[in-house]
């Protein structure tokens, strides 16, 4: 069973977990996958006229959040000596988003 679902923004409640990152027009990440949405963030998305969101089915949200956290911790471990360096920034963020999205 697919553990994600597309919801109109109006039906998304605070605490819902994003299944894919929300991007702006240039493709930059506004909100990363795995984020548990707050009311303030939902407001921001309404202001940007976002229509729908790909979110995690509520029953899977907790397991998904644990997995996303495991992946984040692993990526930060790999970048443990270089996470603060200018040369690493783009790769670190792209790899984090890619691995959380693909679950690898």
């Amino acid at each position: 069973m697919d553990d994600t679902l597309t919801l109109p923004l109006a039906e998304v409640l605070p605490g819902t977990v994003l299944a894919a990152p929300v991007l702006d027009h240039s493709g930059a990440v506004l909100l990363p996958a795995g984020l548990s949405l707050t009311e303030v963030q939902l407001d921001g998305l309404r202001r940007r006229d976002v229509a729908t969101l790909l979110v995690v089915r509520p029953e899977d949200a907790e397991a998904r959040a644990r997995k996303q956290e495991r992946i984040r911790a692993r990526v930060m471990y790999l970048f443990r000596h270089t996470a603060d360096e200018a040369g690493s920034q783009a790769l670190l963020h792209a790899v984090l988003a890619f691995r959380q999205e693909t679950g690898q």
Binding site: S26, G27, A28, V29, R74, V75, L78, F79, R80, H81, T82, E85, A86, G87, S88, A90, L91, L92, A94, V95, A97, F98, R99, T102, Q104
Partner: protein, 277 residues
């Protein structure tokens, strides 16, 4: 004799490059390639041919019917893909590896194939032909295999030291020998008459600012970091090495391009992994 001079003399006593690999490398620089003769030559080396056919028939290429011969593989996949696969298979079967608990042969090759896949994936956004990038990635760490052959015991100690200090292998090599595997690899590449751009990539992939500007060293430098960041070698204590900010800026990869590179690296790696089986 200094340590460096001693290393150079050792490198010159190492075995020659496997003949098939040498012929494939030469055919990359020549305009005319006799495909029939090359296919026949490759097929004569059963160990290499079998690995190549296994990859050609892997799901990555999604072919409708089975590829049964090297000649068919060239027709279906193209000369460039088959040459890359042959070279990969030749290096894997032809170079002696080391034996010590700290050195994992399979982890080494998974890393190398990961870097080759990442370098090839960078070809599209950088608008470069993919073959030299793949080859440079594939060969970038041969200095490590050479060191394993020349200094088996010392290198095992260096590997253990890197674990203890939680530093990169390059740092640990340099601390112990006064040079690292990139110097050894470049020396071996010279002995094996590799093309100049490949020698440059081997020599400077950890210090790309000293390589030819816009050359392969910077691309392999970045591909190496990608392979580590995606955990392709499966090393528990892996780490992403320091990236040279100027090199990264010069590559000028946007978010979308980088995301495409990661996707393609992962897919390419999964297909090449069948080479190792």
């Amino acid at each position: 004799m200094t340590r460096l001079e001693e290393m150079v003399s050792h490198v010159h006593k190492l075995p020659a490059m496997p003949v098939v690999a040498m012929e494939v490398l030469q055919s990359m620089s020549g305009a005319d390639t006799d495909i029939d003769a090359l296919a026949k030559r490759i097929a004569q080396d059963q160990a290499i041919a079998a690995r190549v056919l296994r990859v050609a028939n892997s799901p990555f290429y999604g072919l409708q019917s089975r590829v049964g011969s090297i000649h068919d593989a060239i027709v279906v996949l193209g000369l460039s893909s088959v040459r890359s696969l042959v070279l990969a298979a030749a290096v894997i079967t032809g170079l002696p590896g080391g034996r010590c608990p700290e050195f994992s042969q399979s982890r080494f090759w998974r890393h190398v194939l990961g870097v080759a896949a990442a370098a090839r994936a960078l070809a599209r956004p950088l608008r470069r032909p993919p073959e030299p990038l793949f080859v440079a990635g594939l060969l970038h760490d041969i200095g490590r295999l050479a060191m394993m052959t020349i200094y088996p015991e010392e290198l095992c100690g260096v590997l253990a030291d890197a674990q203890t200090r939680d530093c990169t292998l390059v740092e640990a090599e340099f601390r112990h020998f006064g040079f690292d595997h990139s110097t050894v690899g470049a020396e071996l590449a010279r002995r094996w008459n590799f093309p100049a751009e490949i020698i440059d990539a081997l020599a400077w992939h950890h210090d790309p600012a000293r390589g030819v500007p816009g050359g392969l060293a910077g691309i392999v430098h970045y591909a190496d970091a990608i392979a580590h960041a995606l955990d392709l070698d499966g090393a528990e204590t892996g780490q992403v090495p320091r990236l040279d900010a100027q090199t990264v800026d010069a590559l000028d990869l946007g978010w979308e391009a980088l995301n495409g590179v990661l996707t393609e690296t992962r897919a390419g790696f999964d297909s090449f992994e069948t080479l190792l089986g």
